[in-house]
Symmetry: C2
Subunit: 347 residues, 2 copies
C-alpha cells in the first residue's frame, strides 16, 4: 500500500541505492538525478518505513519512560519535561505506567516491549534496594528517584536529605518548633519519604529540637486524598504543632485543605511547606512555600545521559550519580519571618 524505496526507484528510473542516497543527503549525486528522485518521492508521497530502518540500524529512535502514574502531578510534569528534552534530542517517548507496583516494575524491566525502544528512563516506586540487581539489564538505563542507590545504572535524582533539611531549617528559622510531617513511610530508610524525613531529623537535631513521633503522619501513596486523610488523623488524635512539612506538594495541599477546614489559619496558626514546586503550588490559598528540587534539570540530564549511553553502549564507564540543585521557594503558607506575611506572593 504505502510506497517503498523500490516504488520510488522504479518511478524515478534509478536504483534504490540512489533513492536512499537522496534521502540521506549523500553529497555526490547529479542534480538531475536528485531532482527526478525528489519528484518521484513527492508524487508517491513516500515516507520511509521506520520499522524497517530500525531493524536494519538497530536503533528505533524511541526511548521509554516508566513512571508510577501520570495522574500524580509530579510525574506528569516530569513526563512533560522528558518528552520535551527527548524531542530536542530527536527521539520520541513511549510512556508506561507502573502504578508504583513492584511486580509490574520488575516485569517492565524484563519486558520485550522495551525492544521497541533504545533505552529506558525508569522511575521506580515499588522496588527497593534489595532489587538493585534487577537493574542489570541488557539495554541503556537511567534510573530516577530514591528507591535504589548504588545500582548498576546511571542515576539522576535530587538532593532529598539536604533539601528537606533546608526546608526544615527554614521553618525553624521562622520561629516554628513543632513541625508535623505528612507522608512518612513506616520504617523507610531510603525512598523519598525516608530521605526527606532524615533531612528533617538532621535539622531538628542540629537545632536541638526533640523529634516527636506523635506529630509524624504516615501514608502510602502520595495522593492528594492521602494528605488530607493523614492530616485528619493527626488532628483527630489531638496532635499539636505550629508547622507542617508535607513530604511533597500534593500531600501538603491536601493537608492544608483539612487544616483550614478545621478552623486553623495558615500560616498564622500553622505554617505549611511542601516539596516539588508543582505549578499549582503557586495558586493554592494560601500559595505554598515549597522546595524546587530541580526537576527540569533532572529531566534534561536523564535524557542526555541516556542518549550518551545509547550512542556509545561500549564506553561503559562506571555508573554515575547525578544530583540536581534545589532551592526553597518562599510563598504565603510559610513566610520566612513568622510575624510578617510574605512580602509579595511568588507566582
Amino acid at each position: 500500500m504505502a510506497a517503498t524505496l523500490h516504488d520510488v526507484a522504479r518511478l524515478a528510473g534509478v536504483s534504490i541505492k540512489t533513492v536512499s542516497n537522496v534521502i540521506h543527503e549523500y553529497p555526490h549525486i547529479r542534480p538531475a538525478t536528485r531532482a527526478r528522485v525528489e519528484q518521484a518521492i513527492a508524487e508517491l508521497g513516500y515516507t520511509p518505513n521506520l520499522t524497517a530502518r530500525s531493524l536494519r540500524s538497530g536503533r528505533t529512535g524511541a526511548i521509554a519512560l516508566a513512571v508510577p502514574e501520570l495522574g500524580l502531578s509530579y510525574f506528569a510534569e516530569l513526563a512533560a519535561a522528558v518528552i520535551e528534552a527527548a524531542e530536542e534530542a530527536g527521539v520520541v517517548v513511549l510512556v508506561e505506567q507502573t502504578g508504583g507496583d513492584r511486580d509490574r516494575e520488575l516485569e517492565l524491566l524484563r519486558s520485550p516491549r522495551l525492544k521497541m525502544t533504545d533505552g529506558l528512563i525508569f522511575s521506580p516506586l515499588g522496588m527497593g534496594q534489595d532489587d538493585v540487581d534487577r537493574l542489570e539489564v541488557p539495554y541503556p538505563l537511567v534510573v530516577l528517584g530514591e528507591r535504589i542507590f548504588d545500582g548498576p545504572a546511571d542515576h539522576v535524582t535530587m538532593r532529598n536529605v539536604e533539601a528537606a533539611r533546608a526546608a526544615t531549617e527554614y521553618l525553624l528559622a521562622s520561629g516554628r518548633r513543632r513541625i508535623a510531617i505528612i507522608g512518612a513511610h513506616e520504617g523507610e530508610v531510603i525512598g523519598s519519604a525516608g530521605l526527606r524525613l532524615r533531612g528533617y531529623r538532621e535539622a531538628l537535631d542540629a537545632a536541638g529540637v526533640a523529634y516527636d513521633e506523635s506529630i509524624i503522619g504516615h501514608t502510602t501513596l502520595w495522593h492528594r486524598s492521602n494528605g488530607a486523610r493523614c492530616m485528619r488523623e493527626l488532628l483527630d488524635r489531638g496532635a499539636e504543632f505550629d508547622a507542617v512539612f508535607g513530604l511533597n506538594d500534593t500531600l501538603a495541599l491536601g493537608a492544608m485543605r483539612v487544616l483550614q477546614e478545621s478552623g486553623r489559619r495558615v500560616p498564622e496558626d500553622v505554617a505549611v511547606v511542601g516539596f516539588d514546586d508543582l505549578d499549582e503550588a503557586g495558586y493554592s490559598i494560601p500559595s505554598l512555600t515549597t522546595v524546587d528540587p530541580g526537576q527540569a534539570w533532572i529531566a534534561r540530564t536523564a535524557v542526555s545521559t541516556l542518549m550518551e549511553r545509547i550512542a556509545d553502549p561500549d564506553a561503559a564507564g562506571p555508573p554515575r550519580l547525578l544530583l540536581a540543585d534545589f532551592r526553597i521557594v518562599e510563598r504565603e503558607s510559610a513566610p520566612a519571618d513568622r510575624l510578617a506575611p510574605a512580602a509579595v506572593p511568588t507566582r
Copy 2:
C-alpha cells in the same frame, strides 16, 4: 549480541520454526522438544526482537497519543487514562506534545515517526475547522476535542454545549444572575471555549437573562496563570458579577484564587463553577463545583475505537462521532442553593 531465534534453535538442536512454534504456543509440539526449546530460551535469555516482528507483521503494537501538553492537568489525566486503556488492549503508547501549535500539529500528522505506531489518538488545539482535510491520513486516526468536526476520522468527545448549558442553568437555579466567564476565545465558534460559551448563552437566553460582554473574560491557553490574570482584568475594569463560570477547572481555580485575594468570599459573594472535574477540584478552598465531562469514558472509547480501526482498516465505514455523558459535580464553590452551604463536601 542479544540472542536470536537462530541462537535458540542451534542451542536446542531444532529449527527456528520449532522455536517460533513454542513461542507462539502452537499446540502440536512434542513435550520433550518444547522443554528443550524452553530451556534454551531461558539459558540465552532470549526475548523476541519486536522490531523484526513489526516489520514482518505490519503491526507495531504501539499507538501514538498527541496532546498539547502534559503539564496541563486535563491532558495528564487524559494520557493516564489512555495509557491504562491501551495496556488493557495490549499496546503501548507513544506520547507526543504539540504545544497546541498548529504547525506542529500538522507536521505531526504527516510525520513518518508515526510509522512506528499502528494509529494515532490526536487531541488538536491549534488546528481549526479549515484544516479538516489534513485529517485525511493513511493510518487509523481518532480525534479528540472540539477543534474540528465532521472530519474524515472517528471523533470522540464530550457534550460541551449541553454540559456548559447545564452548568449555567445550575448557577441560575441557585439564584445567580450575573455570571462572569473566564477563558473565552475571541470570535471562536467551535473549540471548547466557543462551544461552552454557546451553552452558557443558551442557558441565559432560556432564562431571559441578558448576555453582557463586559463580564466575559478572554484568554488563550488555559493555564492556571491565565485564569488568574483573566480574573484580575475583570476586577480591574470594575466588572460586577455574583458567579464565575471558568471554562475549565484550571482557569476556575486560578480565578478563584484572585477572587479571594481581592477579599471576595466564595461562594457567598461569588459562586464559582469549573469544567473537567480534575482531581484537584476536590481539594481547593473551597472545593470546586464543576462538570465531569466523562473523560474516563472518552479515553477508553478512543482506544477501543482506534483498536477496531487498526484491526480492520478496510471495514472503513463512515467516521463516527462518539459523545460522552456528563454530570454536574456539586461542591462548595457553588452550592445548589445559594443560601445553604453545600451539605457535605464531595471528595
